[in-house]
């Protein structure tokens, strides 16, 4: 059972519409303490060659969203609604074996900790070869191995000829992540989803990996979804940004939109907690007070209300994700405050930030 008749016609045509279209995605899990709605109505699009960053704290739903795109969250306790279309082809209704053809070859995903994300008992080369041959068993092992060596070289691993037979634990952290990326690229996917690719790495290595991702994006036109909690990472590579909170998208826009004209108090908080060299030093390290909401027990109305110093009556109603700036329809947010109010309230000591609640 595959795509519906209307969409199969546009399957091969990427130029007409977005490469990846996620519409009203909802993912709920049954846990022993009740039902958890991890993703609650997420909608976005990814254009070919674009880098989209999804930002949020743990529990915001960003990883679940990403994993759901390629169907990794399917299980007897998960409940998935909504639509995910790749070049027009609907993925949520595909069977497991059909999705297996998409995974790795059309959409590749890499994960946070390369140490645990690679099987320790097989060499890196073997794992790359496995990926290649899983999608085309006619490729001979020797050919696939050559490809693996090429890939390792392409991601900047020196002495790839020799290293292809090394085991994951014989690589350093940064090299391991590069190897993971090489494995992701093996089948020349059109989308790369990188789930916190730099979080487990040293800061200096982080920059290298981000550069690598940026290079790959530019040289191969590889559309990328970059998931992170670190706005600094976002500033490096993203074209557009999605800010998630409590399972919903609370703000989305271009990189400039988010950094220079953020509309949602949560975004202000995230920006405010960045330490920046080009701005006056704050008196103390700002943070967003409170804790991320428990997904078992989301606050009524706007999920950010308990932590927002600017909340007022209307916040008891769930705000819609709307474009509230007439001049910029691509920039949407979920905050009832008026744009002028927002511009005023977000300025703290000469920089953008979030006040502590009174």
């Amino acid at each position: 059972m595959s795509a519906t008749p209307e969409t199969s016609a546009i399957r091969a045509d990427a130029s007409g519409g977005p490469l990846l279209a996620v519409e009203d995605l909802r993912v709920g899990f049954a846990t022993e303490d009740g039902r958890v709605q991890a993703v609650d109505g997420v909608t976005f699009e990814l254009e070919p060659g674009e880098v989209l960053a999804i930002v949020g704290e743990s529990g915001s739903g960003k990883s679940v969203t990403a994993q759901t795109i390629i169907g990794l969250t399917r299980s007897p306790n998960s409940h998935i609604e909504g639509s995910v279309r790749l070049s027009g082809e609907e993925l949520t209704t595909q069977s497991e074996s059909e999705l297996q053809k998409v995974r790795g070859s059309k959409i590749a995903m890499i994960f946070q900790d390369p140490m645990t994300s690679l099987n320790p008992v097989y060499s890196v080369g073997k794992q790359i070869v496995e990926a290649i041959r899983a999608h085309d068993s006619s490729v001979k092992k020797s050919k696939a191995r050559e490809q693996a060596i090429e890939l390792l070289g392409a991601v900047g691993i020196p002495d790839a000829e020799r290293r292809v037979d090394d085991y994951p634990h014989e690589f350093s952290g940064g090299m391991r992540q590069r190897a993971m990326i090489a494995m992701g690229l093996a089948l020349e996917p059109s989308v790369l989803i990188a789930d916190e690719p730099t979080t487990a790495l040293d800061v200096t290595i982080q920059a290298q990996i981000l550069h690598l991702i940026q290079d790959l994006n530019r040289s191969r036109g590889l559309a990328t979804i970059l998931i992170t909690h670190d706005l600094g990472v976002v500033a490096e590579v993203a074209d557009r940004v999605l800010v998630m909170y409590g399972g919903k998208v609370v703000e989305q826009g271009t990189l400039d939109d988010i950094f220079y004209d953020p509309q949602h108090p949560y975004t202000w908080g995230l920006l405010g907690s960045l330490t920046r060299l080009d701005q006056p030093r704050p008196h103390r390290l700002p943070q967003i007070s409170g804790a991320p909401p428990s997904l078992l027990n989301l606050p009524k109305g706007c999920a950010f209300r308990p932590r927002c110093p600017h909340e007022f009556g209307k916040c008891k109603e769930v705000p819609g994700l709307d474009a509230r700036l007439s001049e910029d329809p691509g920039h949407r947010d979920r905050c009832w405050l008026q744009p002028e109010q927002k511009r005023k309230l977000r300025e703290i000591e000469g920089r953008i930030g979030l006040e502590e609640p009174a």
Binding site: I70, Q100, R103, N119, P120, E130, A134, H169, E170
Partner: protein, 318 residues
């Protein structure tokens, strides 16, 4: 790798040595009665006791005693004073029977253990899993003689489906087989239950690992993920356990099963020796058993290194 092997071998020898000392201590130093008397057995005349003291070195210092006794045992000169049988010969005669019993049972329990464990893990939480778990727990909780007695009573006596006892050599395969079926089942049920649980929990642990998620994300088929990634990595604890268990059994550990079914192997001999308090035999058997355990322990270590390259190559700094 070579260094690893050498280190392990040395370790094994050291442990064997320590065990021999332990055996020595248990049988000679711990007890309250005269050791020579015990060795000489129940029908000992004073003259015999004196001879034993001489031969076994009880009138000498402890280290000398140890050396004398170990020499006796290892050169196969230990004779049971009760039964006048050379212990060494007796053990050797018993090996085919014990081997037949253990290997056959092992094949059965590994097959079922794997099958049930695998099914349980794949359908974890569901009805299959719960049923198989209940089965496994029951198997684990059964005293071997309870099971054996039921099998013996109902299947050899009430309905004469199988012969009750004895071991028939391989020269007559039909008889060999029919005589071993019940003991195999008895022995296997215990272990099968345990192994299925071990495999199940090992697989569940592995299924949660990040690399399994990566394997799925690469687009590998469910079967390939299950076998090449989950199962492969789940085997380590199972193999470790099997090595040890098998080592124990083949060293004469199937004492109860062998005596219940009259299979005159090493375990049977051990039961006899215990019943008649035949200390020379018991000592020799203890060492024999311990030897196999250490041997298989070492095999397991090697298997472990083969299966997990991190052990083999040593984890490098990351």
């Amino acid at each position: 790798m070579l260094r690893f092997i050498v280190r392990r071998l040395f370790g094994a020898i050291a442990v064997l040595f320590a065990i021999s000392v332990l055996v020595f201590l248990i049988f000679n130093v711990v007890p309250a009665t005269n050791p020579a008397q015990r060795i000489a057995g129940k029908n000992a005349t004073p003259q015999l006791i004196e001879n034993v003291e001489e031969e076994w070195g009880f009138n000498k210092s402890l280290p000398e005693q140890y050396w004398t006794q170990m020499k006796l045992i290892f050169t196969g000169k230990v004779v049971s004073y009760n039964s006048h049988v050379n212990v060494d010969t007796r053990i050797r005669e018993g090996i085919p029977a014990t081997a037949s019993l253990c290997i056959g049972a092992a094949i059965i329990w590994l097959s079922f253990g794997f099958l049930f464990g695998f099914l349980s893990a794949v359908r974890a939480g569901g009805f299959t899993d719960r049923a198989l778990t209940a089965l496994a727990l029951t198997g684990i909780s059964m005293p071997v003689f309870w099971l054996a007695s039921i099998l013996l009573y109902y299947l050899t006596y009430k309905i004469e489906l199988f012969p009750a006892s004895g071991y028939e050599p391989l020269s007559d395969p039909g008889k060999w087989f029919s005589h071993l079926i019940l003991p195999w089942v008895s022995l296997a049920i215990l272990y099968a239950g345990f192994y299925s649980r071990v495999l199940r929990s090992s697989m569940l642990d592995v299924m949660n690992e990040d690399y399994v998620r990566t394997a799925r994300a690469k687009g590998l088929s469910s079967r390939r993920v299950m076998v090449r990634h989950v199962l492969r990595n789940s085997l380590i604890p199972v193999i470790t356990l099997f090595g040890l268990d098998f080592g124990v059994l083949i060293g004469g550990g199937a004492i109860v099963t062998e005596s219940l079914f009259n299979i005159e192997g090493v375990g049977y001999f051990a039961a006899e020796a215990l019943a008649t308090q035949d200390f020379p035999s018991i000592m020799a058997l203890s060492l024999f058993g311990a030897f196999f355990i250490v041997l298989f322990n070492t095999f397991v270590d090697f298997a472990y290194a083969y299966l997990d390259p991190r052990i083999r190559l040593g984890t490098s700094a990351t």
